[in-house]
C-alpha cells in the first residue's frame, strides 16, 4: 500500500538549460480539464494502492507554484477523501522564488501545503542568469522570506560546482544559505544531463564544466560546513536538521511504495513500476480514453526490486538493511551484494558494514556511482 503520493504539474514559463525533467511551456492551460484529469488519475491509483493513510504528498514539476491554489486545494481534498491523511501529513510544493509566485504562497498554505521547496539555485545574479532562471537574487531572498512566513517548513535548492566556481565563492554562498534559518537544504552539483541545452553547449565547447577534482573539493567543503551548522547530509545532496528530512523523498530512497500521477510521473507500488504519458496532450487524451494517464504498468521481479532498493538506499547516510531487503525480495544476502568487493571498499574507507546494515561513508558518497557498479552484483542488474 502506498503512503506517498506524487503529483506532477508539467508546465513552466520557460525551460531551464540544465533541466531534464518533464517540463513543457504552453500558452494556456485549461485548469478545469486538468483538475478532473488529475483527479481521475488519482482515483485509479487509490483503487490499486489505497487502504492506508497518506504520510506525504509532493507537488513537483514543471513549476507547481504556477498551479492555481484552488486546484491544489481540490486535489488535496480528493486525496484526503480517497486515502485519508496521517495526522502529521507532509505536503510539499516545489516553488519558484519569483515575486508573482510568492504572492500565492498564502493561498497555497491555506489550501493545505505545509512545506515549500524553493528553487533558489544561487544568490548570485550572474549565476542565475547563466542557469536561465527568471528571478533575481534579490527577488529570491524576498520570496524565501514570504515562504518562511506562510509555511511550517521551508527548504531551498542551491546549485554549485558551476563552471569556474572556486572554493571561496562557494563557501561564502553556503555560509549565507545556512544563516537563512531553514532546517533543510538541497545542494546539488551542476551535472550536465544528456538532452539539455547545456549538454549541447558542452559538446560545442561553449561551456566547460568544472573539473571533477575541483567539484570533489567543493563537495567536501559542503559536508564540512553543513555538519558544523547542524544540517548534516542525510542523502548525497540533501541536508537537514535531524527530524526535518523530507519524508516524501525518504520514501523513494528507502524504496517504499509511492503513487505518481500526472504527466510523466513514475510510481512504484505493489511490485509494479508505473509510468504515465509524458507529453501533456497525450496524457489528457489517455485520461479521456481510459480514465487514467498510465502508459505502462510493469511488474518487477525480485532482482529488479533489489537493485533499485540498493541504488536508492545507498544514497542515504543510514544505508540499507540487507536483512530486511532479503525478507522483502527473497534473495539471500550473498545475492544482494558482492561481499568481497564490499569488504575491499570498507577497508579503503569508502563503504561501511555493521551487522545487517551496509552503507557508503562520507568519502565514498562522491563516487557512489562507481561504488554501485562494484558492489551491486551483475545478476541483479542484468537487463
Amino acid at each position: 500500500m502506498a503512503r506517498a503520493l506524487y503529483i506532477h504539474w508539467p508546465f513552466c514559463l520557460k525551460k531551464c538549460p540544465y533541466c531534464d525533467f518533464n517540463s513543457h511551456v504552453r500558452a494556456d492551460v485549461e485548469v478545469a480539464r486538468w483538475q478532473s484529469g488529475l483527479i481521475a488519475d488519482m482515483r485509479r491509483e487509490a483503487e490499486v494502492a489505497g487502504g492506508e493513510t497518506l504520510q506525504s504528498i509532493f507537488f513537483g514539476g514543471g513549476t507547481p507554484s504556477l498551479m492555481p491554489p484552488s486546484l491544489v486545494s481540490a486535489l488535496l481534498h480528493e486525496a484526503e477523501s480517497l486515502w485519508g491523511f496521517d495526522e502529521n501529513v507532509e505536503i510539499t510544493l516545489e516553488a519558484n522564488p519569483s515575486s508573482v509566485e510568492a504572492s500565492r504562497f498564502a493561498d497555497l498554505a491555506s489550501a493545505g501545503v505545509n512545506r515549500a521547496s524553493l528553487g533558489l539555485q544561487s544568490f548570485d545574479d550572474g549565476a542565475l542568469q547563466m542557469l536561465g532562471r527568471l528571478h533575481s537574487a534579490q527577488e529570491g531572498l524576498a520570496a524565501l522570506g514570504v515562504a518562511q512566513d506562510h509555511f511550517d517548513r521551508v527548504s531551498f535548492d542551491l546549485i554549485y560546482a558551476m563552471p569556474g566556481q572556486g572554493e571561496a565563492d562557494w563557501s561564502a554562498m553556503l555560509d549565507r544559505a545556512l544563516g537563512m534559518g531553514t532546517d533543510h537544504l538541497s545542494l546539488y552539483q551542476l551535472t550536465i544531463e544528456p538532452g539539455t541545452r547545456f549538454a549541447t553547449d558542452v559538446r560545442r565547447g561553449a561551456l566547460r564544466p568544472l573539473d571533477d577534482d575541483s567539484a570533489a573539493d567543493l563537495f567536501a567543503i559542503t559536508r564540512e560546513l553543513t555538519d558544523a551548522a547542524g544540517l548534516p547530509a542525510y542523502e548525497i545532496s540533501n541536508h537537514a536538521r535531524p527530524g526535518q528530512e523530507s519524508r516524501h523523498n525518504l520514501t523513494y530512497w528507502r524504496y517504499r511504495d509511492y503513487c505518481g500521477i500526472g504527466p510523466g510521473a513514475h510510481g512504484r507500488r505493489g511490485g509494479a513500476a508505473t509510468l504515465r504519458h509524458k507529453k501533456p496532450e497525450n496524457w489528457l487524451a489517455s485520461i479521456d480514453r481510459q480514465g487514467d494517464g498510465l502508459s505502462e504498468v510493469r511488474p518487477q521481479n525480485a532482482r529488479e526490486q533489489a537493485s533499485e532498493a540498493l541504488l536508492m538506499g545507498l544514497r542515504l547516510a543510514e544505508g540499507v538493511d540487507l536483512a530486511a531487503l532479503s525478507r522483502r525480495t527473497g534473495i539471500e544476502r550473498g545475492g544482494l551484494v558482492e561481499d568481497g568487493r564490499l569488504a575491499f571498499f570498507c577497508e579503503m574507507g569508502l563503504a561501511w558494514s555493521a551487522g545487517d546494515r551496509i552503507g557508503i561513508t562520507p568519502s565514498g558518497m562522491p563516487v557512489l556511482d562507481g561504488l554501485l557498479a562494484e558492489i551491486v552484483p551483475s545478476e541483479l542488474v542484468a537487463a
Partner: protein, 605 residues
C-alpha cells in the same frame, strides 16, 4: 606439344612498386590473354588486400602465347613476383622455376635495395637477366642515369635495356622480343622418368588444393599416379592445366613447361613446396634439390577481443594457412587476454597482412601483442632439471633468471639505400638501435649503408621510423646473420602491484628504462581512473625501473535522484556493468581492452 626451343620461362623481379604487375598486365593484354573488358589494373593481384594496398603478396604465374616477329609462336611462362622483402621467398621459388628474369627498374627511383637483393638471387641461378627501365613517362624519369646505375651497382650490361612505360603501353613488344631473343629455352628430357618441381600450392574453393609445377624431366599427364618424393604420399592427377590467366585444362605438361595440377588433395600441408613429384611406377630415383625452408622471424600473440570468438579465430587461422604456409601458429593462453595463438611471420608486413585478413575476411576483432623474436637461452642445471638449451618465443615463458647462463638473440644485416640528405638521421636511428656499421658507400647522390642490427630492435618500430625520417625514400632490405649473445632482460609491467603478462617484453638492459617509462606513461593515460589510486610500474625482476600513478577518481555520482529517476539510474548502472564485463581484472583494476591494444602499439608512434 610445344617444342622446347619455343618455350621461355621467366620471372619479373624488381624493388617494390617499380611496376612489375603493371608490366605483366600489358604483356597479358598484348598477347591477347584477356580482352580489354576482362582486364583490370594489376590483374594478377587478385587478393582483396593486394588490390587495396596496391602491392603483390603472392607470386602468380601466367602462360602467354606470343607470335614473334620471326613468325614463330612461343609459349611464355611469366611469373610476377612481390617486391617487398617479407615475401622474398616467393621470389626465390619463382626464380628456381625459370631460366631468366626481367629486371624492372623505375626510371625515376633507380636501383633500390630490393632490386639488388632480387637480382643477386637471379644471378645465383645463372639466369639471363633482361633489364627494363620502366615509368619513362614520368617527368622525373632519367633512363640514362638509371642505365649507368644498373651497370655500376649491379654490374650487368644495360646498353640494351628496354625502355618502357607499363602504364601507357610503351615498349611492350620490345620486351617480348627481348625475352624471346635473350632468355634461353629450357632443357629437359621428355622421355626420362618424371621429375616435377612443386613450386607453389594453394587452396581454391572450387578446385581444392592446386599445385604449381615446373616439369624438369618427363611428362605429367591427367590420370597419372604420382608420388611426392619427400612427403611420401601418392596421388591421382585429375587435372592438368595452365593459367592464361584464366584456367585452361590441358592433357599434359612436358619437361620445360610450367603449369598446374590437381590431385584430390585436401590439405595444403601435403603439397609442400620444394618437393619433387614423380610417377609411382618407374619413377625417378633422385629428387631435385628442394627449397630452403622459410623460418618465421617475427612472432606475436593473436587474441580475440571477445573471448567467445576463440573457435572462430582457430578456424579462420586454419583457413588462412591453407593459402599461406609461411606462417606458423600454436595455441597460447594469457591471463589478460584469454585464449589465443602465438603466430610466427616472415616479417612485419607479413604480420600486418595476416592480421588484417583475419579482421576483414573473417570479421574478427583481434588484439595483437607486441611483436617479438625468438631467443635462444642456455639454462644452467637446477635441482630438478639438467642444463639445457631452450628457444623462447614468448616473453611470458621467460625462465627463472637465476638459471640463465646466456641469452642469444637473432641479428640481421640490413642494407639501407637512401638519398644522402637523410643519411644522418638514418645513421642515428641505427646507432640508437644498437647497430654496428659495416659499410657506407655513395653512388651518385645516394648512399648505401650496411648495418648489423639486433632483430628485436627492428621488429619494434624500426621500419616505420625509417620510413618517416626518410619520407619514404629510404629502402631497406635485410638478411639474418645468426644469433649473438646479448644482455637481455625481461621487463614486466605491474598494475596495482600485479604483473600483467600480456605487457611484458624482452629488452636490452640499456634501453629497458626508456621503454619502461614510455609504457608506464602510456598506460597512465589509457587506464581509466578507479576508486583508488593505482601504481603502474615497470620492473626487471624485483627492481622497479619506472613508475607512474593514476590518481583516484574523486567524482562519479548522480547528484539528483528522486522517484522518477530510478529507471534511468538503473540503466546507467546496467551500462556501467556491461562496460566492466569487457575489461580484464588485474589486482582489482579493470583494464579496458583498448588500453592493451593501444599500449602494445606504442612502437608505432
Amino acid at each position: 606439344m610445344t617444342d622446347l626451343s619455343l618455350i621461355r620461362n621467366f620471372s619479373i623481379i624488381a624493388h617494390i612498386d617499380h611496376g612489375k604487375s603493371t608490366l605483366a598486365d600489358r604483356l597479358i593484354q598484348f598477347t591477347g590473354g584477356l580482352t580489354d573488358r576482362e582486364m583490370s589494373e594489376q590483374v594478377l593481384d587478385n587478393m582483396d588486400i593486394e588490390r587495396e594496398r596496391g602491392i603483390t603478396i603472392k607470386a602468380q604465374t601466367v602462360r602467354l602465347n606470343y607470335t614473334a616477329k620471326n613468325g614463330e609462336t612461343y609459349q611464355l611462362n611469366l611469373m610476377d613476383t612481390p617486391g617487398h622483402v617479407d615475401f622474398a621467398y616467393e621470389v626465390s621459388r619463382s626464380l628456381a622455376a625459370c631460366e631468366g628474369a626481367i629486371l624492372v627498374v623505375d626510371a625515376a627511383q633507380g636501383v633500390e635495395a630490393q632490386t639488388l637483393a632480387n637480382v643477386y638471387q637471379s644471378i645465383e641461378h645463372d639466369h639471363e637477366i633482361v633489364p627494363i627501365i620502366n615509368k619513362i613517362d614520368l617527368p622525373a624519369a632519367e633512363p640514362e642515369k638509371v642505365k649507368a646505375e644498373i651497370e655500376d651497382i649491379i654490374g650487368i650490361d644495360a646498353s640494351e635495356a628496354v625502355l618502357t612505360s607499363a602504364k601507357s603501353g610503351i615498349g611492350i613488344e620490345e620486351v617480348l622480343e627481348a625475352v624471346v631473343a635473350r632468355i634461353p629455352p629450357p632443357e629437359g628430357d621428355r622421355s626420362a622418368p618424371l621429375k616435377a618441381m612443386l613450386v607453389d600450392s594453394w587452396y581454391d574453393p572450387y578446385l581444392g588444393v592446386v599445385i604449381l609445377v615446373r616439369v624438369v624431366a618427363g611428362t605429367l599427364t591427367k590420370g597419372l599416379h604420382v608420388k611426392f618424393m619427400q612427403g611420401g604420399t601418392e596421388h591421382l592427377v585429375d587435372r592438368v592445366g595452365c593459367m592464361n590467366p584464366k584456367i585452361e585444362q590441358l592433357s599434359q605438361l612436358q619437361a620445360g613447361e610450367i603449369g598446374f595440377i590437381t590431385a584430390q588433395i585436401k590439405e595444403v600441408e601435403q603439397a609442400r613446396v620444394g618437393d619433387t613429384i614423380t610417377t609411382v611406377k618407374n619413377g625417378a630415383d633422385k629428387a631435385l634439390p628442394g627449397y630452403k625452408e622459410v623460418q618465421p622471424v617475427v612472432f606475436c600473440g593473436l587474441f580475440p577481443v571477445d573471448a567467445a570468438d576463440f573457435e572462430k579465430l582457430r578456424e579462420s587461422i586454419g583457413k588462412l594457412r591453407l593459402n599461406d604456409a609461411s606462417f606458423s601458429f600454436e595455441m597460447e593462453s594469457s591471463a589478460a587476454l584469454g585464449f589465443g595463438f602465438r603466430a610466427g611471420f616472415l616479417g612485419l608486413l607479413h604480420l600486418e597482412i595476416i592480421q588484417e585478413r583475419l579482421t576483414r575476411e573473417y570479421d574478427l576483432d583481434l588484439i595483437t601483442t607486441a611483436p617479438s623474436v625468438v631467443y635462444r637461452i642456455q639454462l644452467g642445471k637446477s635441482k630438478t632439471d639438467d642444463a639445457r638449451e631452450i628457444e623462447l618465443h614468448n616473453p611470458s615463458d621467460y625462465p627463472d633468471p637465476n638459471r640463465i647462463e646466456m641469452i642469444e638473440e637473432p641479428w640481421i644485416k640490413a642494407t639501407i639505400y637512401t638519398p644522402d640528405e637523410y643519411l644522418g638521421a638514418i645513421l642515428k636511428l641505427c646507432q640508437d638501435r644498437r647497430g654496428i656499421q659495416i659499410d657506407l658507400t655513395y653512388v651518385g647522390g645516394r648512399a648505401q649503408v650496411t648495418y648489423e642490427l639486433p632483430l628485436n630492435e627492428v621488429v619494434f618500430d624500426f621500419y616505420d621510423r625509417l620510413k618517416s625520417i626518410s619520407r619514404g625514400y629510404a629502402s631497406f632490405d635485410y638478411e639474418q646473420i645468426g644469433l649473438r649473445e646479448g644482455d637481455l632482460v625481461k621487463m614486466s609491467i605491474l598494475v596495482n602491484n600485479e604483473p600483467v603478462d600480456a605487457l611484458s617484453m624482452i629488452v636490452h638492459r640499456d634501453v629497458a628504462e626508456a621503454r619502461g617509462r614510455g609504457m608506464c606513461e602510456r598506460l597512465k593515460d589509457l587506464i581509466p581512473r578507479h576508486l583508488f589510486k593505482i601504481p603502474i610500474q615497470a620492473a626487471i625482476g624485483g627492481k622497479v625501473i619506472a613508475r607512474e600513478t593514476i590518481s583516484a577518481m574523486r567524482k562519479d555520482v548522480t547528484a539528483k535522484c528522486y522517484g522518477g529517476d530510478i529507471s534511468r539510474k538503473k540503466k546507467l548502472l546496467e551500462k556501467q556493468k556491461k562496460g566492466k564485463a569487457k575489461m580484464r581484472e588485474y589486482g582489482n583494476v579493470s583494464i579496458p581492452q583498448e588500453a592493451f591494444i593501444a599500449a602494445l602499439r606504442m612502437g608505432e608512434e
